[in-house]
Structure formats: C-alpha cells, structure tokens
Subunit: 405 residues, 2 copies
C-alpha cells in the first residue's frame, strides 16, 4: 500500500527520446520486462551508481562505456540482476550491448546495460537477444508509461514524473521514471532512475547536476539500509528543445536546476512511498549540526533504527526511542540538554527529557498522520540534512521472508 502515490501522469514526450518495451520472457508471468531507451545523436548522458563494492556486471559495463563514448541506447531488463555472476555476467552484459549496437547501427560502447531482479542466476541471454528486434521496432516517443511499468520488480505502482518549464522564451520538457523498494525471489532491492530532458546542457555541467541532484534525492532515501548491487540513476539531455547550450554561467541554470530537483525528489520519494510494507512516509530533518557528516549520521541512525521504525508503524509517539537513537549516533559530545526533537509541529524533547509543554494527545495526533517529519535540532552548528524513509511493518517481514511459503 503505497503512501500518497497516485497514478502515472500523462507524460510529455521528450524530443529526441524514444522508448521500446517488450516481454522477453525473463519473468515467467509474461509481464513487460525489457525496456530500450533511445537518445537521439548529440544527446548527453550522465549518471550515478551504487557504492556497493560488489556491483553488478551491467554497472561495471555502463561505467566503462560512459567513459568511452556518448551513449545512444540504454537497455534495462528486470527479472534478473546479473549480479554475483562473475566473468560470465560481464560477458553477458557485453553481448547485450553488441546485439543492440548491431540492430541499431551504433558502436557497442554507445549502449548502456542495466539489470534488476534475481541475484546470482545467469542472465537469460538468449531470451533477451531474441526480444531485442521487437524492442527496437517498438521505439516510440510515447512509450513512457509502458517503460515505467517495464522496469518494475515488486513495486506495487509504476513511478513517473513529467514537467514542462519555461527557460526564457523556450519551453523545455523533463520526463523521468524510477523503480525500487521491491524484492524478488530470492533477491534484493534495487533502485533505478531514468530522467530525460530535451534541454541542451554542457556535458560537465550535466554530470555535476546528475551527481548533486542524485545525492540530495536518491542518495537520501532508505527503506532498510541495504545498498543494492545494481542501483543507478541516469540523466539524459537530448539538446533538442533549446539551441543555446546551458552552462554554469547561463541565466537559465537556476530555473532548469529547480525543475530537475523537483523531478529527482518526486521520483526518489515515490520509491519510499512504495517502500516494502510502508504505511508512513517519513522525513528526518536534522538541523544545526557542525558538519554534513554528523547531520547524516544522526539522520541515518534514526532512519535505520528498528525501534523507531516499529514505533512509527504502531503510531506510537515513543520519544524515548528517538532520543536513544540520537544518543547512539557516532557524534562526539552531543549535548542532550541543548537539543530539541519535534514530531511535525509538536515539541517532544527539550532539556534532556520530555518537553514540559508536551501532551501525549498531541504526539498521538501527529503520529496518526500518514506523512511525518521528525526534526532533530542539534543546536551546535549551521549544517542541515534531510533523509526520507518509511516505517517497519509486518508486511516488510512478510515480503522479505515468506515468499517461500
């Protein structure tokens, strides 16, 4: 049951982007499981990837290809992560790229592979190769909704955002899709995001936007603290909407960045809203830290605490668990008497204990909301950070434990 997540929007096509979606039979259910994204010549592509040291074969190949030449095709399969598959996995990922390259008349290094699904099983290469011609034939600028569905694993809803924004006289379009928070037998969560725009963005600026916006959105969400081997979030700019290249000096950069930021955040939040078993969408807002590092340490300690997450599930304004989690964060010399903790607008903790003004009914009313913000004001510096998470419910255990029964 996704928290506050609606149906897909009617996507604006992005000039220069076409999407082909087919069923390759990787998943037994006959669901769409293979997505090909085509970017017109001249497009620029940037991305960020999992920090898991044991990253999957497609992540290694994508990184290698991105470094070598501008990308023209992104091939995404679900149903198999091609992770923990050693040399054979690398060879399979390369074979996919070569097949796309042959069919489309480009170099293999212009194709980027992405996989999500079962770990440790060989990629069903033959099925993917057989389905590729249909995916190429299916390429269509209106393929967005199918693609949002085609990259899902056990997501309960497809996730997409589409925006148009005026930069001076020109209108640019941003459309993107994401998937995540699902697991599949016998497997792990993987997160993928693909954001495209027809704006023309200078290449180094594009990578810096992909890094900065990805860091503040996809790298600030957590369901259970487990980092997938396959995470990737790509930003593609086709340059077909505006002739003038947007650079760091451009007067339109601020407007573009703001629009992209909103798309990134919405797609990242959608993953949390559809988090496994989620019944609450939770913002952890840490303020007045001395450094980004300590703000994130406090935020993630809260976001990963099973005691805090089960209290959220139970709608229990259990400030003792929140305070104890802050206290075990690895931050030296925290002053318990200075900090304050709020649940939405309700002050729970001040001067080392329950705030004098606090009444249980207020905390209960705040906890009964579906969207909750826990604000920890450390009162020791001027750095703030936010992360987003969900609660920890019976359904989380059911989804991750009971698929064998």
């Amino acid at each position: 049951m996704a928290v506050g997540l609606g149906a897909l929007p009617a996507f604006f096509p992005v000039a220069g982007i076409r999407l082909g979606v087919v069923s390759a039979g990787i998943k037994k259910t006959g669901r769409k499981d293979l997505v090909l994204i085509e970017a017109a010549p001249g497009s620029r592509v940037a991305g960020i990837f999992t920090r898991n040291q044991f990253c999957a074969a497609p992540v290694m190949v994508t990184r290698e290809h991105l470094a070598r030449s501008p990308a023209r095709y992104l091939l995404i399969n679900t149903g198999n992560a091609n992770a923990g598959t050693g040399e054979r996995g690398l060879a399979d990922a390369r074979a996919c790229c070569e097949a796309v390259a042959d069919g489309a008349g480009v170099e293999a290094s212009e194709v980027l592979p992405f996989s999500t699904g079962v770990i440790g099983e060989p990629l069903p290469l033959e099925r993917i190769l057989s389905a590729l011609p249909s995916a190429l034939t299916a390429l269509d600028e209106n393929g967005w909704a199918d693609a949002a569905e085609g990259i899902m694993t056990t997501d309960t809803l497809p996730k997409g955002v589409t925006r148009q924004v005026k930069l001076g006289d020109e209108t640019i379009t941003i459309s993107g899709i994401s998937k995540g928070a699902g697991m599949i037998r016998p497997n792990m969560a993987t997160m993928l995001g693909f954001i495209t725009t027809d704006a023309c963005i200078e290449p180094r600026l594009l990578q810096s936007l992909a890094s900065e916006l990805g860091e503040a959105s996809f790298n600030r969400i957590t369901i259970d603290g487990d980092t997938s081997t396959n995470d990737a979030c790509m930003l593609i700019a086709t340059g077909q909407a505006n002739r003038l290249e947007i650079t760091r000096e451009s007067p339109f950069l601020a407007g573009l960045k703001e629009a992209l930021r909103e798309v990134y955040l919405t797609l990242a939040h959608a993953i949390v809203r559809d988090g496994e078993g989620a019944t609450k969408f939770v913002t952890i807002d840490v303020r007045a830290a001395k450094s980004q590092e300590e703000a994130l340490e406090v935020a993630y300690t809260l976001a990963h605490s099973p005691l805090v997450k089960t209290a959220l599930y139970a709608c229990d304004p259990n400030w003792g668990r929140i305070l104890a989690a802050v206290g075990r964060a690895q931050v030296a010399n925290l002053d318990i008497n200075a900090l304050t903790i709020h649940l939405n607008d309700v002050c729970l903790v001040a001067r080392g204990g329950r705030a004098d003004s606090y009444r249980e009914e207020q905390g209960q009313a705040a906890m009964n909301q579906e969207e909750i913000t826990i604000t920890v004001d450390l009162k020791r510096g001027d750095i703030g950070e936010r992360v987003w998470t969900c609660d920890f419910s019976h359904d989380y255990v059911t989804i991750n434990a009971e698929y064998r029964t």
Copy 2:
C-alpha cells in the same frame, strides 16, 4: 521462544554475596521488581557501561560512585529505566543509594544503582524506598534464582550461569545473571549483567578482566542495533575463596580467565537466544581481516541487515543478500573474487559468485538448523572477530509495535 535456552541451573552460592529480592509495586503485575545484591566488605567491583551518550541517571551515579569508593551494594529495579528524566532522575537515583546506605550502615557512595524499564517516566521513588527494608531483610546467599527473575523485563526466561573451577588447591565459584532483549511499554531494550566470584582478584586486573571479557561477549551481541541508555555489566570479586590475590603474574590467571570467559559468553549468548522474536541463534564469524575495525564492520553490517535477518527467519540460504551486505560494509578495496562465505560447513560463495560446489539442498539443510554460523573469510589479513545475533521475525514487529492494540 528462546533458542536453545534451558531452565536456570542450581546456583552455587558465592561466599560473600547475598541477594534480596522483593516486589516493590513498580510493575503493576506484582512481579518481583527490586533486587539488592550485597558484597561483603573487601569485595572489589568493576564494570562496563552503555556507550549511548544519553545514558540514564543510574549509569551516571554508578560510574561516579565506583570512582569514589569500593562498592558494597548494588540496587536494581525493573519497570522504570530512570532515563530521559533530567535532574530529577539524578536526584532520585541518589536518594535510592542514600536509603540503602542508611539501612545497611554504609556510605551512599558504596551503593550502585541500576534501572531498566520504561523511559521518560519519573522513578516511583516512594515505592522503592518503602520496599527497601524488606529487600535488606531478604538478603540470602541462595537468592540467585529470585534475582535472575527479579531483573527480567520482557525476557521470556531468566538467565543465569554457575561454575566452580579449581585454581591450584582452591576451588573458586562464579555465579552470574543477565537480562535483556526485552522491551516494555513505551520503551527500549536494556541489557544488564552481574557476575560474581569469591576469587580474590587484584583491583586493576579485575577492571581489565571486566573490560576485556565484556568487550568480547556483551559488546559482541546485537538484536537490532539499538543501544540502550541503561546497559551495564558488573564483575564482583569478594575474595573469600582464596587467600592469595590473583595478579597479572599469577599462574592461576589463565584458568580463572577461561572460567570467567565462559560465564560471560554464556550469559551474553542467553540474551541473544531470548532475543525478541528470535527463532535462530546466529554466529557471524569474520576471518582474515586486516584490522579489528574492518572485521567488526563486516560482522555488524551482516548482523544488522534486515534482508539477511529476514532470510534467516525464512530459512532461506539467500547468499546474494549476504554477499551484498558484505559489499556495502565500509571497508576499502574488498576483493570479491578472493573472499569466501560459508553457512555452517557449506561453501556458498567463492570467486565472486556462487561456489561451483554449492547445491541448494546443502544450503537449505544448513539454514534449517536453529544454530547457524555465517563465516566470511576476507582473505586479506590475520584478524578475526565474532558477533552473535538472531533473526528478524514477525514476532519482533509484533513485540515492538503492537503493544497498543
């Protein structure tokens, strides 16, 4: 349902130790909730405490008193943690010590207070003070079983160990009790351990044993990664069994240490075996690391991974989740192709993926056991570390979320 945890043993009394256990009415159920441990004059006491920065009032007072004078009395209440209670909490903890001191004819600084239970509620001081005379009257060298029960919160079973060991011509006795892995509305887990012996141990050696043995046992167990505000583990040596003081040079030190180590480990493991909702007792054995720090980082990343813990609950030999958790541990330049992962005696992972020799039936057979060892051999150094944990079940969520329903 505790994993492999039997009934209490018939405790050997420890010369110089008496225990008084009463119902002070802190818990509404009329259960035993106040335990007084008396150590004869000349006893030596050492301990280790929670690293949570927001430690409870009794932990602060115990530390302060330990630094000032040798302890004669330990007062433990359940039902209220006296944590998050500010100045009043400190005053209440001191008042308890003064009352014991008055009743027993010692100084207040010779009394150490311990509390476990509800956080953020004022300590019911009057009830404790009223019950203290009965606790003093009840002091008895055979009070161990009552004390093991009296320090329980939501533990499903009391936990205790008793041993006798020959050191040269003399027999010394070690008896200890612990509690933990329970929560109580609206609260957090707390861990307490009290180990006593009639051996005569040189004071600085005693503290060093308390630190070293506590580190390798109570500080190597984890149920859910949340550090309580109230954890403490005390080691008391009355010196009544052997005249000769055991020092660092003593030929009997090795035998004493081995016996104490076994008692510490058994009591610490008992907490994991009775972990909330636990159905498995899991040893995480990390070998051939470059440093203790990286061995522990890998071990705790596995022990805290919700995906690994739900797979254990489901008896699912999901090596992909284990491999991915190792890969996200904060250890630089791990070589996925070098390391191996075993489940009991079964090799799951070698050369970056599923071991060639691995058969699913073997993994399944290992997973079906109640006691499981996951061994990660990093193949990069000569340091090893072990931690102990349990699985993550529906009952964990139920215990921590649903007490309101």
